[in-house]
């Protein structure tokens, strides 16, 4: 019989816990989470991290002014190329735009706008949609009929067309885009949540609560909403990507976040001239940022769907 040193079981337990932790960690979608964390950090710390201001042109050096305008003093140098191209400077690593503003700083501040708008817009949409979906599913009858008819009618209009209609009657602004996103996207939640609640309503724990005379509002708040949260979370993460694209599209068309602010979509719209003159990077960098954000949101959403959806989880 082998002797077991004192404390071995504790070590074993620690090893087992570490292994379990490792397995959980390996299961997590590392790449999208890392990208999202990075973007979130950049968004929060943009004023600290950004090498230059988001609205003011970069102060050029004497040599730059001489090279471009052959005078020693000039307010700004526009359209500087990124650092690897001839004439690029490490000071403005991704170049400057047509107004001489630092592209990298604007991209960083743009992350802020994209994330704020997409997250709050989706959050509001989710809150409205979840509430209406639960009401429709649980109250049934007229509630159900009316809410679902409205939801269906709401869903018929393509989201961008709807967003454009709403932006036509309001002055452009950041919080307007949030309002538009909330108004356009709530219907996506109510449909899914209602279906879920229809099934939950027949479950024993809800029936028991009803028999015990618990009020409808309490049942909705304590028993139904916590149980539909999984579905809402999955939808939320998938909708964030859509919201980012809609915000970018609206801003690109000029009806979203208004000009001096550096929204990624707006930055692409403003540099269409540069594109024709061969300065492709001013289009590609913001576009790549949008794609990266949406891609990681979608990947995270897919992962959540697989792990939170009871139908998929048990496969």
């Amino acid at each position: 019989m082998a002797t077991i040193p004192i404390g071995a079981d504790r070590t074993l337990a620690a090893v087992r816990a570490a292994r379990r932790g490792y397995r959980v960690l390996r299961g997590l979608p590392i790449v999208p989470l890392a990208i999202l964390a990075l973007l979130a950090a950049v968004a929060v710390l943009a004023p600290v991290l950004a090498p230059h201001g988001k609205l003011d042109p970069v102060k050029p050096t004497r040599e730059q002014c001489l090279a471009k305008y052959s005078t020693p003093d000039c307010p700004y140098v526009d359209n500087a190329p990124p650092f690897w191209a001839a004439g690029g400077r490490l000071d403005t690593p991704l170049g400057t735009d047509s107004l001489g503003r630092d592209e990298l700083s604007r991209l960083m501040h743009g992350a802020r706008i994209s994330l704020i708008v997409a997250l709050t817009g989706t959050l509001f949409a989710g809150a409205i949609g979840t509430l209406l979906g639960v009401l429709a599913g649980y109250m049934g009858r007229w509630w159900d009929e009316i809410i679902m008819r409205i939801t269906d009618a709401w869903l018929t209009l393509p989201s961008l067309v709807f967003a454009i209609l709403l932006s036509s009657v309001r002055e452009p602004g950041l919080w307007n885009v949030v309002l538009i996103l909330a108004l356009v996207f709530w219907s996506r939640y109510s449909r899914a949540v209602r279906g879920e609640v229809l099934a939950l309503r027949e479950r024993d724990f809800v029936k028991l609560a009803e028999i015990n005379g618990i009020g409808k509002l309490t049942i909705i708040w304590r028993h139904l909403i916590p149980n539909v949260m999984n579905t809402v979370m999955v939808l939320f993460s998938l909708q964030v990507g859509v919201a980012v694209i809609i915000e970018a599209s609206l801003s690109f068309l000029g009806f979203g976040v208004p000009p001096p602010e550096p929204s990624w979509g707006l930055m692409m719209a403003q540099e269409r001239e540069s594109l024709m003159e061969g300065r492709w990077w001013l289009e590609v960098f913001p576009g790549a940022c949008i794609t990266m954000l949406v891609l990681s949101a979608n990947m995270l959403g897919d992962w959540l769907r697989v792990h939170l959806d009871p139908q998929l989880r048990n496969r």
């Binding site: 018929t156 209009l157 709403l166 002055e171 576009g287 949008i290």
Partner: protein, 324 residues
Amino acid sequence: MKRYVLVRALYSVVTLWLLVTIIFGLVRLTGDPVAMKAEAGADPAYVAQLRHSWGLDQPLHRQYLGFVSRLLRGDFGHSFEKSLPVRDIYFERLPNSLKLGFAAFLFSLALGVPFGMLSALKVNSWWDSAGKMVALLGLSMPGFFVGLVLIIIFGIQLGWLPVLGKGPSAVVLGEPSTWITFWFRDWAHLVMPAFALGWYFSGAMLRITRSGMLDVLGSDYIKLVRLKGVPESVVVAKHALKNSLIPVLTFAGLNLLVMVNVAIVIEVIFNWPGVGQLLYDALSNRDFPMVQGVVLMSGLLIVVLNFTIDVLYGYVDPRIRLSR
């Protein structure tokens, strides 16, 4: 069948009515139609006159009844900018949008279906992961970014394809000879916008083909066909493909809906004179009746399209038409 069609028609009418009411209500609640035309600091007399000419000084219920009754008579409003009925302008632009949408649809089929099949046949292989990645990219890259990248590569760097417009073949309504030239000429102008638009859908197409194919390949009748000793290529091409395409076609109907959505930005980038650009121009020109009219027209078309799809399904599949 008759009962089914009637019920669907009733639902469509209710949906349309709700849609009209929502549009009316939201526009009045969240903003002011005049705000667009008369910016802050405009002459109050001008604003008042504008309100009067649009009937905005009347009580809400009168406005609403007038709005609905005009719509029932087929009057979708008059463009402020062009002083023409919105309906006429819309239908003049629609063929261009349909041409673009159809070409994009073909692109998405040509990309999505073969690669979806490949992913399903070699499930969990390298092909499958590549397909998954492409599908994700398709859904994550905004259409306008794809369009701009295409312009950079093929329009500017290589100079192979024209960047703007739809080419000289204009369409004149009701003249058959121009219809032929309209559909079959100026393909070079169509390639980039159609690809940019179709790209977005090819990813979804791929995923749907893959899951449809997987479902069918696991079914009993395919097992039976295999047991009979039919070669695998015939099993796939003849027996499996046909049934796995049903969800793809279901998706096609929805597709058109989303295509209108993405097409706005694509049309603006490529200066394609379709419905999307019409909406964009109307909004830029602060032409509110035009914006509202175009939105109403597209809502109407979508409801009609959904109704048609429902009826077709009921016709094809007895289970659907008997379920209610």
